[in-house]
Amino acid sequence: MNDMTVAAKTPVLAVRNLKKHFAIPKGIFGLASAPVKAVDGLAFSIQPGETLGLVGESGCGKSTVGKLILRLIEPTDGEIELAGKRIDTLSRSAMRAERRGLQVVFQDPYASLNPRMRAVDIVAEPLRNFEPQSKAEIEARVAWLFGKVGLRADQLSRYPHEFSGGQRQRLVIARALALNPKVIVCDEPVSALDVSVQAQVINLLIDLQHEFGMSYLFIAHDLAVVQHISHRVAVMYLGRIVEIADKKALYASPQHPYTEALLSAVPVPDPTAKSKRIILQGDVPSPIKPPPGCHFHTRCPYAEARCKIDTPALREVRPGHFAACHLRG
């Protein structure tokens, strides 16, 4: 995606200073509480038709970001804008109207589908919520959606347990597609699937984006998958974005030491390739007591004295390439 055209458009989804602190009750009366800063001051935007990959290891807060944007949980602070309109301040009923533009695909295709509903009713649910149509119209629309995601019309009246994992995820995608949303939050949509099925579902998502032009916030931990589907990639560490850049730039020349280490861990399907893998020392620090300064300094091979005191801001180290590191740019 060209930077000039990006700057001209209104982002379809914009997030500023997004925070979510979970209170953990301590003591017998649960009075004193130490918040877990699951998401701590996130900012990014997604252009129409763009896919932003959000990567990070388990527990870094990436799934919380998805739930915050969908308003399934309430943010502690920050702004969320959908197509230029703030949705974080909307009441429940006003938010409901905006949900047309914002849909979701979850990780577990088994738990994402009510086991007691037929496939046709599952996909028709969002349609029935927003478009009062006749039964025949809705069924025709659902059959059309089935075709779009590669399911057959004769599978309409089946129950979820009669589908395979990949087919179930296609069903989930059909449901997300039903209202023709502007943004689909994909929360680890393929990590529960077999590798061969992963590729099919990823390619289906790409094809659908070409056809309908929606944007994806693609949350994942698999860097190869993210590289395949994303236009831009954001890397999260302990509730903060440490680097965000165009996919090619980020994979070719990572600016943040954490991104560098992550990318060195991606297996290369070439036995002759010499991998110089960066092994990080220690574990991810507890999000209840994150280290002061740069969150990553406890494990960073290049850490200096000031990394332990100053929190680095996300700065533009190259055009369109942002990193939160004192040592770059």
């Binding site: 399934l72 979850f106 088994y110 738990a111 994402s112 009510n114 007691r116 927003f130 989930v172």
Partner: protein, 304 residues
């Protein structure tokens, strides 16, 4: 085998073992397969159907009025005329036990339905409205801290002996158990991704409860209802036995046992016969409940 078999046959023989080792299975009809897979349900349901038939057709099974007193024929042992004998005032025990089935089943089924419906409502309310949860569940905990029989006795002392009051008293004691179960299920279900997906699809809360929560509480509820039914029958018999339940004018198994208690050592069958009926009824209901639990568990046969 005389000659070398052609290569194609050799290959086939690897995949098709000789018939003698694996005799062809007899095709089984779906009905027979159900009986073999779920013997608990079949035995429990059969016994229960039999007992319901006894309760409904009691007047056809005996022409004798179960409350008719015949002082001249007191304390008769079981005979061709009096199958189960007679009691201290000459009432026909066979007729009394048959009519007693009505009370046990009426109390059992009514309590199961009433406690389930009220408990379901409280559980849904408590599971969905977090601010109400703490208060409602503490009340339920308070009710549960009183042994159900004592609670029922206390309520009977306030209200006086009648079958309706017995049902109400036992139902009140059972409601907290259902409420707790439903609340637990609701708390699990509302964390399910399909509920989140429904919220994200714009489904309103009442519809989410109706479409996504309620159907998935039905299986544990049904199983719990059978246990409540069984427990209610026992509590009814206990209440009647100690004279705090069904009024003595109505024959119930508890009443019959209470009246036979005084002459237990000489005429044990007066206590034993209604006791056997009670045990079999409770067993039938519990068997049905156990079997239903296995059938309704989606992780069971379907295996997804």
């Amino acid at each position: 085998m005389n000659a070398m078999p052609p290569p194609s046959d050799m290959r086939r023989s690897i995949f098709e073992p000789p018939a003698a080792v694996y005799p062809p299975r007899k095709p089984r009809g779906p009905a027979l397969r159900f009986v073999l897979n779920h013997p608990n349900v079949v035995i429990g349901a059969t016994l229960l159907v039999l007992l319901v038939a006894i309760a409904i057709f009691a007047p056809l099974l005996t022409p004798v009025d179960p409350t008719a007193i015949a002082p001249a024929k007191r304390n008769r042992p079981p005979s061709a005329e009096y199958w189960f004998g007679t009691d201290q005032v000459g009432r026909d025990l066979y007729a009394r036990v048959l009519y007693g089935t009505r009370i046990s089943l009426l109390v059992g089924f009514s309590v199961a339905i009433i406690a389930s419906v009220i408990g379901l409502a409280i559980g849904l309310f408590s599971g969905f409205l977090r601010f109400a949860d703490a208060i409602v569940m503490r009340i339920m905990d308070g009710l549960m801290s009183i042994p159900p029989i004592l609670l029922a006795i206390a309520m009977m002392a306030f209200s006086g002996a009648s079958v309706r009051n017995v049902i109400v008293a036992i139902a009140v004691a059972e409601v907290p158990r259902v409420a707790r179960l439903v609340r637990g299920v609701v708390l699990t279900l509302r964390e399910q991704p399909y509920v989140d997906a429904a919220i994200a699809s714009g489904t309103r809360t009442p519809m989410i409860i109706w479409r996504h929560i309620l159907p998935n509480t039905m299986a544990p509820m049904t199983v719990q209802a059978t246990y409540i039914c069984a427990s209610a029958m026992i509590v009814e018999a206990i209440l009647s036995f100690i004279g705090a339940g069904t009024p003595p004018t109505i024959p119930s198994w508890g009443n019959i046992m209470a009246e036979g208690r005084a002459i237990w050592e000489v005429k044990p069958y007066i206590v034993l016969i209604p006791a056997v009926f009670l045990s079999v009824t409770v067993l039938a209901v519990n068997l049905l409940g156990d079997g239903l639990r296995d059938i309704l568990d989606p992780r069971g046969a379907k295996g997804h």
